[in-house]
Amino acid sequence: MVLNFKYFLTSGLYDSCIKKITSISIAILFLCLSNRSSHLFAHNSISNTNIPTLKTHLPLAIALGAAKLNTCKIEITGYTGQSITVAFSGLPANQPSTYKNFIAIWEASVIPWTVTPLRTIEIGVNTEDGTVTIDNLTITYNSYIVGYGVGPGIGNICASAILNAGGTKAPLSYVNIGIANLGQTSLSVHYQTLSGYLPKENGNWIGLWEGYISPYNLPPDALIKKEIDSYANQGVIGLNNLSLGRDTEYTLIYFMGADNTTAAAILTFNTSDPTSEK
């Protein structure tokens, strides 16, 4: 026993064992590290290629994430055999009662603009958002459409919602604007109104102001105001002869009628400095 034990402790054998173990562990460590670094490289290469492609898809002259769109909305939240409850949502600072906002309902799948609604309810509260129950109806299994008007007339309706035949609800529809192109001295604005709506007949117009502007407290110095000169319910309107500053906030507002309280959509955006993006 004693001899055997001494044999194991002889320096030569012990040293060679230790050497083998250390070399194996170094090899394992190296393999692990090289694996990790290759992962890191792969990750870097993907993100490096992604950033430029993102940039090329963005309009160069509008700051990233600075554009903010506010629109009006109406949604059907419930119905019975004799009533429909809707939730309406107006622009920031809207006073629905003061500005004669209303809710109207038709038995149709698209607003029949020339037909008197089944019922019209004036909104009696001055809260931006709210609910209204339209009662005294007989809700059949036909389609119904409700419209939200931001002024006294049917032509001021800027949002609608459908209760489909059979009870399902269709996607909401509302007046929408967007920037189609921002040139050196011009701005092209894309607008979309409800199906079958006639922007020109109802005196729709669009205005551009510098800064963050509220349509209910408009400054007198608009950069440009332009009427929609088309009966098409959607299109592009060009605002020319502009001098837009670098890295400046602007507000674009779409109106459903002559009165500034009939605003239907507000788009605020920032013109970034193109040189700083490069």
Binding site: T77, T80, Q82, T85, I123, T131
Partner: protein
Amino acid sequence: MSTATLEQQGKATTVLTTKIEITSITANSLDINYDTLPGNQPNTFGNQVVLWQNSNEIPFGTPPLQSKIIPSNTQAGSLNFAGLDLNNNSYIVGYAVGPTLNSPAQTYGNICSSSFIPAAGQPEPSNNFEGEIVNVKPGTTSVSFGLTNFPNQIDLNGNGSWAAIWQSGAPSYFARPLSAVQITSNNGGAFNDISIGRGLTYTIAIFTSGYNPTGNSNQETMAAAYTFTN
């Protein structure tokens, strides 16, 4: 706003109705128990019980066999409806939460609940009338409600029925409501243009008559109430 009822959402609600029950029948009298809304003064407000020979419907167009004003002013109580001549036929007794109405309203249009006496040997029916507010759905600036189990042939609209809403845990015969609307359908109605606060408690009540479009409708004919916490 959810499409589910408040009960389905697990929210606290209290439903109050006007109840009438016939406890015993003899050849010439009935014993009646009644339980009306809190704060009611049946005698002062002209509450009455009305008897017809009929199947299980209130025949609003037919003169009744008898009617009797509730003699006391207790919100719940009992009375002996005497001086009758009851045979084996079927009868219906209605409870009116107010006095008789003038034409063109239904004379006994304040009846909101009833109890039925089947013909001798016939089974007791389970479907007595007991007008009730159901399916209350509060929005942010509106509340809709349904009505059920009022007498089938009642004309709530023609009788000047109306509904009130208070921000409180119980209805009131005196406190003016936040909002009042005429009932134009036997199925229900809605309050618009009122702000419904988060977590606040509201009570809706229905009155069978007395609507005044210029305000200050008669608050004595309360038939049913519904309290909910938003």
